[in-house]
Subunit: 589 residues, 2 copies
């Protein structure tokens, strides 16, 4: 019998037919315990019908990740406990489920400590048989797990018994627990390695990991090599179950995976989609390109589409409204929105001023036509005149400056919000990461919106995504609408013309900012690589004065970012919940 | 010799003249290492001139608290190390200094862990003699210390030697370290008690605590009883050095204190002001009312005055602008601002609409006269007409609704921002906590501003503060301006008339919201006491439908609060950095 030989390291007898595992890669709504458990139960039943022995869910799948301060409500916690007990009672016989949930920390009342554990519960035979607690609690970037959770203690191992007397010893880890291997990382965030301890101290047959690992560019490659490394180092098959779906600023990409003890990937869940993944370790490794996209641009576009769709739907909107300036940022956001919720649910609003170029109108109209979205045009001159007349006496003798530019932006922002209020559609903000970094945007103006769709996309990447969009043969709803895969979505003139805010005559972005390829490189070093101004200058590629000016602009713009809409995160460091800077500060350069 | 008998528990010989300690209760600017160290050095020199033996500073006094993600810059950390080494070289002989700073964690690179310690350094003889690390790292409310700091290890004790051979054994704790006494707290946040361990394992003569403890109503009483308890339980004199000054949303109230071994307060620093406090444990206990205010209202007013002044000045503004509606919220904010930065630096802007009552104008003018602030009046009808005409075609057939109300608010918000942009004064937002809780405010309208001055003050408290303000004999700059201590600041009609947003004819707040005393009680239970809707209803004071509606409104308004200006925190739970709720969520009621 060579079946299930993958588990034979411990010489445990294994059933004749292959054991299969299921990963319920689901998209939970934060806090929707009833809805989430309903979908979990349906998935479990489906797996049971297919003979799956053990189902693994992502981290905190009962309440969705991240529940944030909802966990501070005792009612919410006891509702979670009731929901999971109820779910345990409903699961079919002959299937076991490892599900992500919270468990109260009994020590909290006795000796002190955080009130909860971030846990996995084993549901079997109609009840909660065992719980396992997360040990490594991330507090970097967007994570605040020490705010709610105690460091886990107790066993992380259980035995899955089969009717014929066979058994598998399974080690249970939760997300961060598996991200601290001594050999893999140059620098470790924790002294402990729960995986190594599990593997060394127990004769395990399988390692599982329940995750809610947010998407970032290049992260899947890192996950794969890290997880594969763990499988090899510990000579253990490994199943990684990741959440999918977007919750506010965070996009979870799914891509649950299984590795055999040689570190070869033998299964991978869909990217940016729900999936019920069945894993059979007898199967051969899969092509390493299984979850890939043709380019980073393609992957980012898919991430942002999910981010917009989930925010719109989870906030119970149906339609969105976008200000179309004829520029590339709003063009990309419109394309993302049309792909996410259907072009019939996207309204583009053109708000020309006397400073608007002719092409700003024609380009926006051409874009709307390509996407099949409706437009409205509302010239802003009447409001400009009204504001200017009303402020005329007070502003007498003062030159026109950024005040008047901001007013135009705020008139547009107010018009868009009026449309949002009247028709109940969500306003999407269209600012890119480069301009939000340096504050080249107007608070209460173009920054208005419920969601900032491309807030974490640098301007140079906005260009490259639009270029990819025009050239790709990928299956996209907005392309099939036109009928040709490789047809132009973003009018070429929008890509080729020099960017301009068009808030005064002949204005160009490059009058106020360094060229975007220079700006974005400086910002990358400053934001993602934590370089100081001095280190960026010392790296030798940029002019000292430009670097110092950019660093100063980034600092000064903090007050704007504090009031920005949530922005979809696609990098390792986005503005928003993972960016916590003081405003009133004075940092010596 | 009975001098310094307070230290004789350990039979240590003590010098003949009393030993004195200094607390440098200073107001740092976050990140301003040069400025902060200059002020520290001046304070140390002043203490030295008065024969003080040991100076104690608040927590992280080199960089100011909280430095937040500035600590993620290696350059910033090494600048702190240089600044403190430089300061150490400059301190006078014969004085020792315990100063709050950060220290790199050597284990981080070796075995893994957070990169820094939150530490105290002993500066003596021109160098850093010893460092002590904080052990309890708060992660609740506004605190994120696990994001940056490792749990401290190593000694927390040093010996202060005197020339005559005498010596004091001193235990060093940092802020949270002292907030976990087993007997004092019903529920503890940590299993460890560093103070008890110190006191039990070392023959200490004195306990010191470096703090950055933010202000909240009723907190000083708690601190006093808690610190007094610690002194008594461990039979040790205790010095608590707290930061003063506001940094963004957080107001630090100072009020550093010293307790003798009987738990009696023998010294207290000023409230909401810098102070160089000299402590001599030979002196008798002071009156328990030393740091008190005549009422919570008086104390909150002082806190908000400091909060506004520091935000304005630390952001390098000189003047502020406020929209004056004739209502009580803007009246209170104008009074706070006038007290904080001088009435000559406050501009009130009246922006009447056709729905504005006559008294809204006359009341606002009367207020401005009482405060001595300048006003400008800009009617908004022309902008209303322009927007309505421009949107007329699109809105055809749709009834007037909240859209038109929000537009008025957004016109006003845009006018105020135009004035802020043109004249460079900071816009103060005037929303109170009750309306921000339930979303009775307009995003990009009346929510506009760099700082939300009364965002953590419930409406009922806004009334009581205004009543106190009118009746008090406290020394206030805005009162002395009028020349009479007990003269009316807030025109009585502003206090007595029913609150109204005046966004449509005959509108009153109470048409949309429950009476404020009911609303505020429900909000208090929901926000501060973590009650669920069911628990509030079960408490029996409120109608089920009203409670359910309020709870729902609070949830729905999350998207507005996410984009709100920083609000000055005066309670144990404010919106802002300590309130981390998901937006796209569905919590089963």
């Amino acid at each position: 019998m060579e079946l299930n030989s993958c588990f034979k390291i411990n010489q445990i007898k294994i059933a004749m037919s292959p054991i299969t595992f299921g990963v319920a890669q689901l998209n939970p709504v934060i806090g929707d315990l009833i809805g989430n458990c309903d979908r979990l139960l349906t998935a479990i039943q489906e797996f049971a019908a297919k003979g799956v022995s053990l189902v693994i869910t992502p981290e905190l799948s009962v309440c969705g990740y991240p529940p944030r301060d909802l966990l501070m409500s005792q009612q919410f916690v006891s509702d979670i406990e009731m929901a999971i007990a109820d779910l345990a009672g409903k699961i079919p016989p002959d299937i076991a489920v490892i599900i992500g949930t919270v468990v109260p920390n009994p020590d909290a009342a006795q000796v002190g400590g955080k009130p909860l554990f971030n846990s996995a519960a084993l549901l079997q035979d109609g009840k909660i048989k065992q719980v396992f607690h997360k040990r490594l609690l991330p507090t970097y970037d967007v994570f605040d797990e020490d705010r709610y959770f105690a460091v886990g203690n107790g066993s992380q191992v259980f035995t899955l018994n089969f009717k014929n007397g066979d058994a598998l010893r399974i080690g249970v880890t939760i997300c961060e627990d598996i991200w601290n291997d001594q050999k893999f990382w140059d620098k470790r965030n924790y002294a402990d390695d729960p995986v190594a301890e599990l593997a060394q101290n127990h004769a395990l047959d399988l390692l599982i990991n329940l995750s809610a690992s947010p998407y970032a560019v290049d992260k899947q490659k890192l996950r794969e090599s890290m997880l594969s490394h763990s499988a090899i180092v510990h000579n253990l098959p490994l199943i990684y179950a990741n959440q999918v779906g977007a919750n506010d600023d965070l996009i979870f990409d799914g891509r649950s995976m299984a590795f055999n003890r040689d570190g070869k990937t033998i299964a991978c869940g869909k990217s940016f989609e729900e999936d019920l993944l069945i894993i059979n370790f007898e199967e051969p490794p899969i092509n390493p390109d299984y979850s890939g996209y043709e380019s980073d641009e393609a992957e980012i576009f898919a991430a942002l589409v999910l981010g917009v769709r989930d925010y719109v739907q989870k906030c119970r909107f149906k339609q969105v409204v976008i200000g179309l300036s004829g520029g590339i940022d709003s063009a990309l956001v419109a394309a993302i929105a049309a792909e996410a919720i259907g072009s019939e649910n996207v309204l583009g609003v053109l708000m020309p001023s006397p400073y608007s170029s002719d092409h700003s109108i024609t380009d926006a109209i051409a874009l709307a036509k390509n996407l099949g979205i409706a437009t409205q045009t509302i010239p802003i001159q009447p409001m400009m005149t009204a504001f200017e007349s009303s402020l005329d006496a007070l502003f007498t003798g003062r030159a026109s400056d950024v005040t008047e530019e901001n007013l135009q932006s705020r008139i547009r922002g107010s018009l868009l919000m009026a449309i949002s209020n009247k028709f109940g559609n969500l306003l999407l903000s269209t600012g890119n990461k480069s301009e939000i970094s340096v504050g080249y945007c107007t608070l209460y103006g173009d920054m208005n919106g419920g969601l900032s769709a491309i807030a974490d996309v640098p301007k140079t990447r906005v260009f490259s995504i639009c270029e990819w969009l025009n050239g790709t043969n990928s299956k996209l709803a907005i392309k099939s609408k036109i009928g040709q895969d490789n047809s132009e979505i973003i009018p070429v003139n929008i890509i080729t013309k020099p960017p301009s805010a068009e808030l005064k005559p002949d204005q160009l972005d490059q009058d106020s900012l360094p060229p975007y390829h220079i700006l974005d490189d400086i910002l990358d070093k400053l934001i993602h690589r934590h370089f100081s101004a001095g280190e960026i200058i010392a790296a030798g590629h940029h002019d000292r004065l430009i670097v110092e000016r950019v660093v100063k602009l980034v600092k000064i713009a903090e007050f704007k970012r504090r009031q920005a809409a949530p922005g979809l995160k696609i990098t390792d460091r986005a503005f928003g919940s993972g960016w916590r800077m003081p405003i009133a500060s004075k940092v010596t350069p």
